[in-house]
Symmetry: C2
Subunit: 543 residues, 2 copies
């Protein structure tokens, strides 16, 4: 009979899934887990604040297939609820490990520090924002419980929660006994669905693939590219799914965002006789605030949870199997009527000396971005404008829309792909939430390029509502802040400045913050369409 320590088994499972780093803030109830992690050989990344640890681990998860946040009880765990909710909403495989008081206290001492109502409080909170949860209170069931939660995170690409009482961390657990039973997949259903979908696709004249975030989450990008090539059909992505189909691929024609995106892309998708929606859950954001017009008669939806053709659904189908079967049974004989769409999205003007605009930033970035760059975006116009960037990797909270994601996620991204250099897009509002994590990046020797879209306000709110005092943001001296933590910083007030700033950042091996001081009242065309559309609704509710 083989025995190992509980924490060792947990770190083994995590490490086997490809994880090399965890993100967190140490605190007394989790110290034994930190020590066990160090002994095991995983690297501890300490962030300045728990919300940032959540965002960093989420970004890491989106790129590596699993991310881990390691927090203390109460003041730590409850401070990471929002990033975990984000990961749930956007299907990111984030595992939260929390320390906890010793099991012997559970009955006797409900009033330990960091406790709220009782020893169930934190667990109950996490049950609301994770897919699977376990409290490892007993050595006999610990292995099974760890397997259950880790397997759930990996298979469902949604957050899981494991709570480890301080006296359980180094308990020995047995590895003997039967291996866990794998869920049976319904192969007959796969064949039936594949046959039906292939039938529709093969008879369609203008099929199009609408690719969502799950395709990247479940590492199905190659399969989808193969299907697109086999069909000789174009691919678009949703906004959360941006770059889940490589944008450098000739079959990629743009982003579908209902009323707010490119008109040409919209027309193509909405007049297609067969839209195959692949791994995109049609949320409010994915449908451009429900402005998308996707006729169910001509729509096939395949997600991890369910496959729907017209008005009927198949459940229990593995996306990867379905894609494999489709790659075999789909035909290739079709005329490409969409190639003209490929390059409609990037107007180019030379860098001028006029005030800096959002479009100006995007133009410069589109000239600058290379394969080594990963684009990481916060929420706001940086995201909506950023949709026009040509990139093969784009990470953003495009559905749940949690501000403050950008800078910490840039750290998670570069830890996940060390050979990359993240380009972080963040508004001044988002930067003021978590931007000081640039200090953590410096500490770790990372070198993202952090572009602060500085318009001195919560721009989206200002444009969707009206100018109000409480939408104004204090103007920080971002360049000085960068220097105060050991990073480079440069200000850009014109497009020419911005062009030069990018060049300077490119030469530097350090983190470089660009304070992009935007022309007053400047927003991207996408955000303009969005705020124009939603203004009526907000006004009606505001009176």
């Amino acid at each position: 009979m083989t025995v190992v320590k509980l924490a060792e088994y947990l770190f083994k499972r995590i490490s086997d899934a490809g994880v090399e780093h965890t993100f967190g803030v140490p605190g007394d109830f989790v110290l034994p887990v930190y020590a066990a992690q160090e002994r095991f050989g995983l690297k501890t990344v300490v962030m300045t604040h728990e919300p940032s640890a959540g965002y960093a681990a989420d970004a890491y998860a989106r790129l590596k297939g699993l991310g881990v946040a390691l927090v203390t009880y109460g003041a730590g765990g409850l401070n990471i609820v929002n990033p975990v909710a984000l990961a749930y909403a956007e299907e990111s495989p984030l595992l939260v490990i929390s320390g906890a008081p010793e099991t012997r206290h559970y009955r006797q001492k409900p009033e330990l520090h960091h406790c709220v109502k009782n020893f169930q409080t934190q667990y109950n909170v996490f049950a609301e924002v994770t897919e699977a949860q376990a409290l490892l209170g007993c050595p006999g069931s610990a292995r099974r419980e760890i397997d259950r939660v880790v397997d759930s995170v990996l298979s469902k690409s949604r957050p899981g929660y494991i709570e480890i009482p301080r006296d359980m961390v180094n308990q020995e657990i047995s590895l003997s006994g039967a291996a866990p039973i794998k869920e049976e997949r319904r192969t007959e259903a796969v064949s039936e669905a594949a046959a039906e979908i292939a039938g529709r696709l093969n008879s369609a004249q203008h099929p199009v693939l609408l690719v969502g975030a799950e395709i990247r989450r479940f590492k199905l990008m190659d399969a989808v590219v193969a299907l697109s090539e086999k069909l000789n059909a174009p691919a678009v992505t949703s906004i959360l799914g941006k770059a889940s189909f490589p944008e450098s691929h000739p079959n990629f024609i743009g982003i579908y965002f209902g009323h707010f995106g490119s008109t040409a892309v919209r027309k193509y998708v909405e007049s297609s006789d067969c839209v195959v929606c692949l791994g995109a859950v049609l949320t409010e954001m994915e449908t451009g605030g429900y402005t998308a017009k996707l006729d169910p008669d001509r729509l096939i939806q395949m997600t991890a949870a369910e496959t729907t053709v017209g008005y009927h659904s198949y459940r229990g189908i593995e996306l990867s199997q379905l894609l494999s079967e489709l790659a075999v049974s789909c035909s290739t004989t079709r005329h490409a009527d969409w190639t003209a769409l490929r390059s409609t999205e990037s107007p180019t003007h030379p860098a001028g000396s006029g005030e800096l605009t959002v479009i100006g930033i995007i133009e410069e970035l589109n000239r600058f971005l290379r394969r080594e760059h990963i684009v990481v975006s916060d929420v706001g116009d940086c995201l909506y404008a950023g949709l026009s960037l040509k990139t093969d990797t784009f990470i953003a909270p495009g559905y749940y829309s949690s501000m403050g994601f950008g800078v910490p996620a840039g750290i998670g991204a570069q830890m996940a792909v060390p050979e990359s250099r993240p380009v972080v897009l963040v508004g001044d509002g988002g930067f003021q939430m978590t931007g000081m994590e640039i200090s953590t990046a410096v500490k770790l020797g990372l070198n993202p390029i952090v572009i602060v879209f500085n318009n001195g306000s919560y721009g989206m709110l200002r444009f969707v509502d009206q100018q109000r005092d409480y939408y104004k943001l204090p103007r920080w001296d971002y360049v000085s802040l960068a220097k105060a933590v050991g990073a480079d910083g440069v200000q850009a007030a014109t497009q020419a400045d911005f062009h030069a700033a990018l060049k300077q950042a490119d030469k530097s091996k350090q983190l470089c913050l660009i304070d992009a001081r935007l022309k007053n009242d400047d927003i991207s065309p996408t955000l303009k369409r969005l705020t124009d559309h939603f203004r009526k609704k907000i006004r009606a509710a505001t009176l």
Copy 2:
């Protein structure tokens, strides 16, 4: 029949309780509530990040009797869970108001942005960390629901949660109908308890009052001072209760913190023949990690929830009534044997040119503090050392121990008491979490003195465990950071420097940050005792 708009009624209730400001970050689902608040005339205080809004509102609540955080749905609300948990644990009357999607979406559109699992998620999370909750989904019950939650916050001094769908904010609600029924209090129980307690007190030779946080929360400080004077008995406070008995009062003899506090105070309390524990819940922290020796035979415990004498308890007793009756029935003839204890807590050395120490900071502060100063502390040695400060107002998360409280709480404190000047004590770890809120203070024209206890590490963790890489903090240039947001900043590396820095801060009308660079390995005697005691436990769990 009088009708008013829903939000107006809510703000009327809040305003009647003395609130003039609310704290938050605006976001789309809460914009109508912000607009309604502006029309009503309450002042909106926008912080940079929701956790800070929670801490600021908590501090405001501790000083004003009610504090309000105003947040958006999902990304806003779920980002404030930890501060609300803190307020629950430490009995702070914090009301959270969250915007929410329109009621018509609840059935149709579960996949709006900012949503997690469903429209219940956020409500369920808050049910775990608040005392009362309401979702205002119907005009007919809105008034009753608002009253229920606001009354609960005020009467129980614990957080409440109100969620307002966007289409309900300006719905008209009726104010006709019966006033809410007040809970009956058990006056016979009060008389019986008062007689019994007075009997014990009057026959005691060395009674002592152990005063906790509830006394300040329920505005009973005057009543407790009166009782102490009537009894001619000394008062000590718990650590969470620090300054719930005025420290400038001659009957105040120190803080009782079990094994870790002053030995003289400990001896006096533990040998007293009648310890009256007033408004202190005997948690782990309040009992010095359960090292307090309070013999139940000689202990009387009076809290908002229950009054216990020896081994029996009274429930449903209002603390204020019990204190009133005791003030009448207690006798005054007693010899004061404790007056020598009054000044045992402040050793004084002249400011030297040696490296700055924690004790040196406390000495200087004890010479500096005046009545106008409110001390606000974060977690860590700043708190444990800060227990030795002589002050009549001290705000700190002394039980729940949530780092990051200090700077935002300083803002809440000064908004609550505009004639005060907060002195904020914060470690570098806590500052790195939320310290950039100094920018918000500058924006509001506030001028706290922010003292960063800079030891380049999570000091408590380092001393309770051992030196490890992941306890090291990056050294920020705090003075430059202060200047980058428009505040003053000065560095102090010796006690003489620190003395001069305080003088400079005193002269300035602006926020002044003092980067107090501590001698390596220096900690306060209290933290030394604490970490020595807990090291065994941590080591045993860490292996």
